[in-house]
């Protein structure tokens, strides 16, 4: 029979919590940093991939095949494997500082994988814009790329904000995977504290810190989704 006092001692130890929490928050700053510098790169990469994949220019056909292959491969393998492969592997091939940092290559791995995930989100958005919008734009004499830039993308991005936020919530959590190759971020710091005192409270504290970010993000996503649904149903029914 598990005993409640033992559970409390091991997972909800007040003293350990007070002791670890500031250190964990400090470590969490690194998670935020990785998230903050990866996200713009991810979005930029995803947009380039999605636009290339949706392009109808026959000359781009070989590049399109390459992009499809890239997206399939990145999405078909667990993120953690890419982090090991790129984050551990690349610094090991004899690069000089600062280009041998696992932190750098761990972030690169996140960008390359999440870029592929989010490219598919953007592509779904681009595909969801009605074909007649393209026709209307082209019939006015706008070129393919002007049509993409002024007509298709603005509508597509607006529609994919909620699913995009969902993926960013996942990213916020997956940043912790980078800890597995060295950098001392929140999860890693919690592991250190746990080992030092043979107590699980630091993990619980780490969970609380993640939730402080992910729950508000998730609620915002729900709100945006509901708003989008209301907006589109209001304009569809006529």
């Amino acid at each position: 029979m598990p005993r409640w006092d033992r559970v409390r001692e091991s997972f909800f130890n007040g003293e350990r919590l007070v002791d670890s929490f500031p250190r964990l928050l400090d470590a969490f700053v690194l998670d935020i940093k990785i998230f903050a510098w990866s996200t713009p790169a991810i979005i930029a990469l995803a947009l380039v991939l999605a636009i290339t994949r949706s392009s109808r220019n026959p000359a781009l056909f070989p590049i399109r095949i390459f992009v499809i292959g890239y997206i399939d491969i990145m999405r078909g393998v667990p993120v953690i494997l890419w982090i090991y492969l790129i984050g551990f592997g690349v610094p090991g091939v004899g690069l000089e500082r600062p280009f041998n940092s696992p932190l750098l290559w761990g972030s690169v791995a996140l960008v390359l994988t999440y870029g592929a995930y989010i490219a598919e989100v953007f592509r779904a958005g681009i595909d969801s814009v009605h074909e007649s919008q393209r026709a209307a734009s082209r019939s006015l004499g706008l070129s393919n790329s002007q049509t993409m830039r002024f007509v298709i993308l603005p509508q597509a991005i607006r529609r994919v904000v909620p699913p995009l936020m969902n993926d960013l919530v996942s990213l916020q959590k997956d940043v912790a995977l980078v800890s597995l190759i060295g950098p001392i971020e929140l999860l890693r710091q919690a592991g250190i504290d746990k080992a030092k005192f043979a107590n699980f409270t630091p993990y619980v504290a780490a969970a609380i810190i993640f939730l402080m970010i992910t729950i508000p993000l998730t609620r915002t996503t729900d709100y945006l989704l509901a708003r989008e649904r209301k907006r589109t149903s209001a304009t569809r029914v006529r």
Partner: protein
Amino acid sequence: MKLELRNVRKSFEERVVLAGINLEVKAGEVVSFIGSSGSGKTTLLRCVNLLEPIDDGAIFLDGDEISSVGRDPNPVRRRIGIVFQSFNLFPHMSVRRNITLALTQVVEKSADEANEIASSLLKRFGLGEKIDAYPDQLSGGQQQRVAIVRALAMSPEVLLLDEITSALDPELVGEVLDVVRELKGSGITMLIATHEMNFAREISDRVCFLASGLVAEQGSPTQIFSNPTDERTKQFLRRVQAVGKT
């Protein structure tokens, strides 16, 4: 000839939609296309606007072949406007921006010039108030009128109208047709695909009945509606009469 179609053919996979259309349209002429659903009215207009590449034949604008492969379609599209049945306007842009986008991006008018064109055209068609509205704040009829204004803003020589009233509530049809009435006689050449037989009869200089991928019969409105000679035209007109659309 303003516009000339010579033996224009178009198929989608196995389905032959245009089986060698020949047609000559004079400058300023208003030509309507009627025919049952699937007879190729939309496809014909889309081919003229180069939205669909044709399989065979040629299309001439002012004697200039516009349908040749490899030719940049964008300069041609400036001269040939098209308005569709629905989903015309860009929903994320104001009426003003809908109209000025192509003016500033394609013909490189200044923002001021483009604005001036937009507001004077909107005023002319009774939409002056709506310049800063978004499409979903407009009625379907207003949206279609804005779509026509947007096409006109490019000063096209030919205007293609594809069933511009079919998606509208009956009480909104009139205001859109009024715009077309006003345009007739302004010198613009119009090709109109329509199910509104009364309107076709009133507005057209010539009516073409499409069947089996060809212009099966053509003539003045009186001739087509009062004395059709082709058996298929007669049948078609009887059918639309039966559903009370004549």
